[in-house]
Symmetry: none
């Protein structure tokens, strides 16, 4: 008996992302993805129940790895400002390094496949961030407004600026990333003037 080939699994993961980014969900057929992964279409079905399962699990795998990278170096006793800035920079770094992964998830979250995701589970990967924000609110460092508002000022700008499909006039470098964070911080933090 042959054993399941980890390389094929990985090749399918990469091929899926590549094809979806290059030609979109609409034209990314199983045949093309399999060809890109140098695997038979039938083989794909050993690793995934069907096409949707392939796409969903690709998405989840990216989100998982993203959450790990996002929290790299983070400690729960960090200063709120420092903590959020670290995560902000980690996210930009991840998106710059894995533009392809990022593009895939953005396309995914904006199409009906998104409904197939258990949002709570994915959110749980990022719970330390949520806790940090809550701590900031409690400490009156962060405005006490609807959580989604805070969350969106901390996340949406990154997704926007790092996304070359949407925003192609922006250069992601240390300076710009720092500047952008300052805007985010000004948005959410208490002014004590």
């Amino acid at each position: 008996m042959r054993i399941k080939d980890e390389e094929k699994q990985q090749a399918l993961f990469e091929a899926t992302i590549k094809m979806v980014n290059e030609i979109g969900f609409v034209k990314s057929s199983v045949a093309k993805i399999a060809a890109e992964a140098k695997v038979s279409p039938a083989t794909l079905y050993i690793y995934h129940k069907n096409k949707v399962d392939l796409l969903v699990s690709t998405y989840l795998q990216i989100k998982k790895s993203l959450s790990i990278e996002a929290l790299k170096g983070f400690q729960s006793d960090m200063d709120v400002y420092e903590g959020l800035k670290l995560i902000w920079k980690n996210l930009f770094h991840y998106f710059s390094k894995h533009t392809d992964y990022f593009q895939f998830t953005e396309q995914f979250s904006n199409c009906p496949y998104a409904k197939l995701i258990n949002r709570e589970e994915v959110d749980s990967y990022f719970s330390p961030v949520f806790e940090l924000i809550q701590y900031g609110i409690d400490q009156k460092l962060i405005k006490n407004v609807d959580f989604e508002i805070l969350h969106c000022f901390l996340v949406a700008p990154i997704l926007h600026l790092a996304n070359p499909t949407i925003c192609n006039n922006f250069t992601v470098n240390n300076e710009n990333v720092d500047i952008a964070f300052d805007l985010a911080w000004d948005a959410i933090s208490y002014r004590n003037n």
Copy 2:
């Protein structure tokens, strides 16, 4: 020669949006869209060169109407804060009223069809906003940072908060919209402490 039927045109527009929102680009076939519009597939080709043309022109039509609504009541001599707030509220209002249009464009902009759009043209619909921001910078009311950064803090949060696919715990009402704008304003405006 009979004249092209304005009603059919409109029916196709609405059907396209409905189908794409319900089942996504992937499964929205010409046949289904035509059926939804109560029109023959062949008829669709009288109004549009091909499927892509149908989608692209649907997108552009929405963007056009969006820009008109966004600028409703705006005057070029407006105060920067007031002007931006007006537009901010107009946008939220439009997205709440036309959730379906909005969803369509979000799905569109995040998939490869977006490459087919002449971005400059669409941006030109919104040029008064850009000019207002630039004026704010010149007047030292708004931070003098990369334009994309400012732009994204003014737009990305709206797209995030108003999008039920992404953000379903947020209630769009006057109070929340005002609060959110204050965060945006704090993000982009000069602090003079």
Copy 3:
């Protein structure tokens, strides 16, 4: 607008029977049937909802035409012996003339597709025969036994003898058909010795 083509319909009917007889249900793909009918696979789906519908409606059409041929020349006031003999001969004649139709129905009735048929409806095509048998019973010309037993002695032998797949040593000619009917008659009729 083009109109539905009666010839294509008929070509599909014949092609289905031909393929199923030649290579069986297992290997009779939609592609092969369509090719045999000189029609695109897609065209088949204009005339039939799916493959099963094609097979079922082919079966029903044959059964309908069979019932018409079987009852040709039959009158309700006929002598029981003469009536049954007429039908018996009509059936043999039909099966000899349309061996292909016959083979198709036999293969169909013995496989799970048969479950999809509304038996009562098909039986209703043959109701005059059933009434004649019942009349024979009432007149004490035919044994008063379970109806299925009578029915099977009147039908099963024909299906057996006329079926070249099962019975290839038998020559269907007038003499043999008459002889066979005498056996059937002896089976079902009262002996008054």
Copy 4:
């Protein structure tokens, strides 16, 4: 070298019959049959050259066991009437006990797989019956007509009445079986009135 596992062999035999009866030849894939037998598809190929071989040998095995059961208690010096009646009852008994085996063979004999069977060989299993009929003819107890006619009146009714796919209004019990045999006997025997 380990020895072939008799249990696996048997499991495949049963699984084949079960699947073919439940979903038909068309949908009975090797994978499904193997799964039903709790065996790997690859294992199946140790016991059978290919899929067709599996089906054919399943058919032959049933036919063999059928012939044994059919002739149980039969002796070559039996009275013609008694002999035929014994076999008639044995057949009904077998078909009632092994409805699944029976259904399989009926489906098999009516589809192109039947061509792969060496008919003479299968017939040879039943040669005592044929000899008995011939003896009956010689003794002028049985009509001297084409052998296939006699054969079909002795066999076709059983296959018809015992087959729930074709005939579902008939109750197989001792009384009905006896009555049916009387019809068969009346069909084939000389009348001496």
